[in-house]
């Protein structure tokens, strides 16, 4: 991290279904005194839908090149964006031929491999660090949390920055803010089903149900997560899942940036906590 400034890549859902994640990310970094400079004219990373790796590299070379001109590492709150940005970064850094190929497509893809892409969780723990975070915490978020990591934090190995089977970075943050992690290890890294939402909703709903029910069984007050697609599946779609599968869940789902923001004393509205589909008032009420 170059001083106290990072390039910020909000990702496409930041304008809609994950605007609460975007709001809370910006608010938390502001409170921590780290400037987020949004990558000028950034484009979509290709998400899970661009299956051709060369296309993914090209799409992300453009964004990486823009941030590289500013000499700033990129931070993103979205796990899928992180995966695509960083795997492109690695591929481009290692392969001169690939870089030349990108430049041939368009001069805007002339990325030289001078920066890194990072996920917010990685920046919180490994860059800012527990000690600094601790010194800025003013409130206790006294709740039981099911820490849900999903796919691209502990895997694939090329871009992972936490353990593939039992990741701990989010657990550390939850404990830091005075929360308690419920026993959720076996479910932490299971996929939420999001990528099949539009083509096989039946399977996607079954997968999301497993995560939601496991959190409920473990006695969690809420699920904490760090990916907008997981957020859409588990929160925004939760009433649809309840209706389709004839079950009752009512499990609040909160971005880790929102929880951290509460502990930093940021107003819950500024963190977008009123935007969740499943009511979060009870959680906010437990902040002391």
């Amino acid at each position: 991290m170059n001083g106290r400034k990072l390039a910020y890549y909000p990702g496409c859902p930041s304008a809609g279904t994950a605007m609460d994640q975007d709001m809370s990310t910006r608010a938390v970094f502001e409170k921590l005194g780290i400037e987020l400079a949004e990558v000028e004219d950034w484009n979509c990373c290709g998400a899970a839908e661009a299956e051709n790796p060369i296309l993914v590299y090209a799409l992300n070379a453009r964004t990486l090149a823009i941030a590289e001109k500013e000499g700033l590492d990129i931070v993103t709150p979205c796990s899928i964006c992180y995966y695509n940005l960083e795997r492109s970064n690695i591929a481009l850094k290692e392969d001169e031929g690939l870089r030349a190929k990108m430049k041939e497509i368009d001069s805007s893809l002339d990325y030289r491999g001078g920066i890194k892409a990072r996920h917010i969780l990685d920046v919180f723990i490994n860059e800012i660090g527990i000690d600094e975070l601790k010194s800025k915490i003013v409130k206790k978020v006294n709740i039981k949390v099911a820490p849900y990591y999903g796919c691209y934090i502990g895997r694939p190995p090329t871009t992972a920055f936490d353990d593939p089977d039992d990741p701990i970075l989010m657990d550390q943050l939850i404990e830091l803010i005075g929360g308690e992690c419920v026993d959720f290890s076996y479910m932490k890294t299971k996929c939420c089903g999001g990528p099949l939402m539009m083509t096989r909703a039946d399977i996607a709903f079954e997968m999301a149900k497993k995560v939601l029910e496991a959190a409920k069984r473990a006695g969690a007050d809420c699920i904490a997560l760090a990916c907008p697609l997981c957020g859409m599946m588990l929160d925004a779609k939760q009433p649809d899942i309840e209706k389709a599968l004839n079950i009752e869940i009512g499990m609040p789902v909160i971005y880790i940036t929102q929880l951290l923001g509460l502990a930093l004393g940021i107003d819950s509205k500024k963190l977008g906590l009123d935007k969740a589909a499943v009511d979060t008032k009870e959680i906010v009420g437990k902040v002391v």
Binding site: D41, C44, E49, P156
Partner: protein
């Protein structure tokens, strides 16, 4: 049913390995770790990535490319993370899917899953705007999936009426989400699609 050896395509493995992402197919030694840890297999027991890989290595081209299970992979990377042979199973399956899509474009195969339509509709938004435009995506995807505009709109309403209202009430479906968020230099992204395709 026994394999008809005379129908095998010995070149199929090379076809996959020449596709970006498919390079490590031949490293597989059939241990089945990919399948045992797969969250889809838990729900759809017939889903078996190990088998898809072995059939590919044997050259069962037609059976592999027409296998509907190709389209229910989540790309969650669990198999990739656990594979002891670094086959990069998620990417190998992606390479196979792209070969199937090419076959369909050439009229040699009919893919029943709507997933290729969805992926294309998604990428068309990026090509046009540089970012994802959810409404544009739904407007392209649903009619194609359902076979007509009217049927598509009806299916979209069924899936998204409650969801849309919910998002609207929570302020997540404001003007920012209703209109596409277009980047300034769309030409640069268009060039990527022109030169690489989707």
């Amino acid at each position: 049913m026994p394999i008809k050896t005379w129908e095998l395509d010995p070149n199929f493995r090379n076809e996959i390995m020449n596709e970006p992402g498919g390079e490590h197919l031949a490293s597989c030694f059939q241990c089945s770790t990919c399948t045992l840890g797969c969250p889809i297999t838990e729900i759809v027991p017939s889903y078996n990535p190990r088998k898809i890989i072995q059939m590919s290595l044997l050259g069962m081209r037609e059976e592999v490319l027409s296998n509907p299970d190709l389209w229910i992979c989540l790309i969650c990377q669990t198999c990739t993370a656990r594979c002891p042979q670094d086959v990069v199973v998620s990417d190998v399956l992606g390479a196979i899917r792209r070969i199937a899509e090419k076959e369909e474009e050439e009229g040699k195969l009919k893919i029943e899953s709507p997933r290729p339509l969805f992926d294309k509709a998604f990428l068309h938004q990026l090509e046009k705007y540089g970012r994802l435009y959810d409404i544009g995506l739904a407007k392209e995807y649903y009619p194609k999936k359902e076979g007509s505009f009217i049927k598509g709109m009806r299916a979209m309403m069924k899936d998204y009426k409650d969801f849309g209202m919910r998002m609207f009430k929570k302020g997540k479906m404001g003007p920012k989400a209703i209109l596409p968020e277009k980047i300034k230099r769309t030409g640069e992204v268009k060039k990527i699609f022109e030169k690489i395709g989707d």
